[in-house]
């Protein structure tokens, strides 16, 4: 039984977690295991939690405007720690359209901006999971 495990995190300093909690509930109701780590996470904390929990997806919500710093920092750290191959990053929040391309270039697989529905996110995770080939350990 392989479950889709997703880490949801709020890196940075903004304290608005209503949105990410809605996502957490939607993913849980879609049958996924959601690890929610709470507010004010540093990129190091997010990456260490993702490694220990061995998740295939890390979703981050940033409403403070710091996305151009924090998202790439998480992507870079994952790579440094040798965990980037098995982990897919996605994000959301108040993110201007002109930043989306830069974020995907920096390693964020998908950016959801205001107006995206929870169904979109569930669908995206399921479709991406189906394409990820987890090299068998045993």
């Amino acid at each position: 039984m392989e479950k889709i495990r997703v880490l949801l995190a709020k890196p940075g300093l903004d304290g608005h977690d209503r949105g990410i909690k809605v996502i957490a509930a939607a993913l849980r109701d879609a049958g996924m295991e959601v690890i929610y780590t709470g507010l004010r996470q540093t990129p190091e904390q997010v990456v260490n939690a993702a490694i220990q929990e061995d998740v295939r997806f890390v979703g981050m919500s940033i409403l403070s405007g710091a996305h151009m710093t924090l998202f790439p920092a998480v992507a870079k750290l994952l790579k440094e720690k040798g965990a980037d191959k098995n982990v897919h990053l996605f994000g959301g929040g108040i993110i201007p359209d002109q930043d989306v391309g830069k974020l995907t270039a920096a390693g964020v697989g998908k950016v959801f901006t205001p107006g995206a529905s929870t169904e979109d996110i569930v669908k995206y995770i399921r479709e991406t999971a189906a394409t990820m080939t987890d090299e068998p350990l045993v």
């Binding site: 479950k3 849980r28 879609a30 690890i35 929610y36 220990q52 929990e53 068998p136 045993v138």
Partner: protein
């Protein structure tokens, strides 16, 4: 047979596994996490993996933290972890939360109270969903504990889901069991006398700054005094305020005292033996279960029997005996 044991030397032909095992031996968290996932998902060959790691295990002290929802278990685990981290102990934490029986999903939120521990290289935290188990732990929790033990942890803290009276798996999975309750548990102590209260080695009254705490400690001590003594261990009742970081050294001191007590007692060998027996039975049951499922999946007469029972021409008791006779051969290989 999907779970057929392959000889250990065939592992050498699997470079990914060999490299993960090498990294595991070198203390790499990525490798540790991947091995726990393989075990948790019951992926093909996970038993070979466990068999390889078993010889490295046996050093860690396993401490279970259990109690009703909202008693402060996660916060206590966080405080104990801080204390142990300051002593440079290597620490594994398994935090279990419930899986929804309706959707199969789970929201695992214990890390919220432990986020300051994420950057400590001596600490490894893993959240587990129960995935259908009803004893307060996940089916794979004990295996994951063994993996953490084999990794070289000094102490493993296992936090159960919020429990009521009968979720007692933790008692068989741990060396020391701490049952956490709160002043609001009040009269519930009476109800908790059977089951949950019987598995504690240490009682922890958390949120002890709240009204009624002292009275409850006295009540509990008197209940404990009335109980038939089955061990020379004197069950301590420790008052804590996990949020305010009070009483934590005292709680850990009582865990350490219990450890010392156990290691000087024949009862400890008995408990270990019980755990080994329990593990062995569980492994055998799981293997048989998988083989039964596989045998029935391919069995035509199984489908026929279902139709016959539905039509009223036979009954499930007679059908089970007949089917068991048919598949018995395939259970033994």
């Amino acid at each position: 047979m999907t779970d057929a044991a392959s000889p250990p030397d065939t592992l050498k032909s699997r470079p990914i596994l060999m490299s993960v095992l090498d990294k595991f031996a070198a203390g790499d968290h990525v490798a540790l996490a991947r091995i726990i996932t393989a075990v948790e998902d019951r992926r093909n060959g996970y038993q070979d993996l466990l068999a390889r790691l078993y010889a490295r295990s046996g050093r860690a002290w396993r401490v279970g933290i259990t109690g009703p929802p909202g008693a402060g278990k996660s916060t206590l685990v966080f405080r104990l972890a801080e204390l142990l981290a300051a002593q440079a102990k290597k620490l594994g934490i398994i935090a279990v939360d419930p899986t929804s029986p309706f959707t199969g999903g789970a929201l695992l939120g214990d890390r919220i109270r432990m986020q300051d521990l994420s950057n400590n290289p001596n600490i490894f935290i893993r959240s587990m969903a129960t995935r259908g188990s009803t004893g307060g732990l996940a089916e794979a929790t004990r295996d994951a504990t063994m993996v953490l033990d084999a990794f070289g942890m000094d102490v493993i803290l296992i936090e159960t889901v919020g429990v009521g009276q009968v979720e007692l798996d933790i008692a068989r999975a741990c060396d020391t069991v701490v049952v956490v309750f709160v002043p609001e548990s009040g009269d519930a102590i009476q109800a908790m006398k059977a089951g949950l209260m019987e598995i504690a080695d240490i009682y922890c009254l958390n949120k002890a700054d709240r009204e009624g705490a002292e009275r409850l400690v006295v009540e509990l001590q008197s209940v404990l005094g009335l109980r038939k003594k089955t061990t020379p261990w004197e069950h301590p009742v420790i008052s804590t305020q996990a949020l305010n970081n009070k009483g934590i050294p005292e709680l850990w001191a009582s865990v350490a005292a219990h450890r010392e007590f156990c290691q000087n007692q024949a009862t400890f060998d008995h408990r270990r033996e019980q755990r080994i027996a329990d593990d062995l039975q569980t492994i055998i049951k799981n293997k048989i279960d998988r083989r039964v499922q596989a045998a029935l999946r391919d069995s035509e007469s199984y489908r026929n029997k279902i139709a016959e029972i539905a039509a009223g021409t036979t009954n499930p008791y007679a059908a089970a005996v007949e089917l068991l006779g048919e598949i018995a051969g395939s259970l033994a290989d």
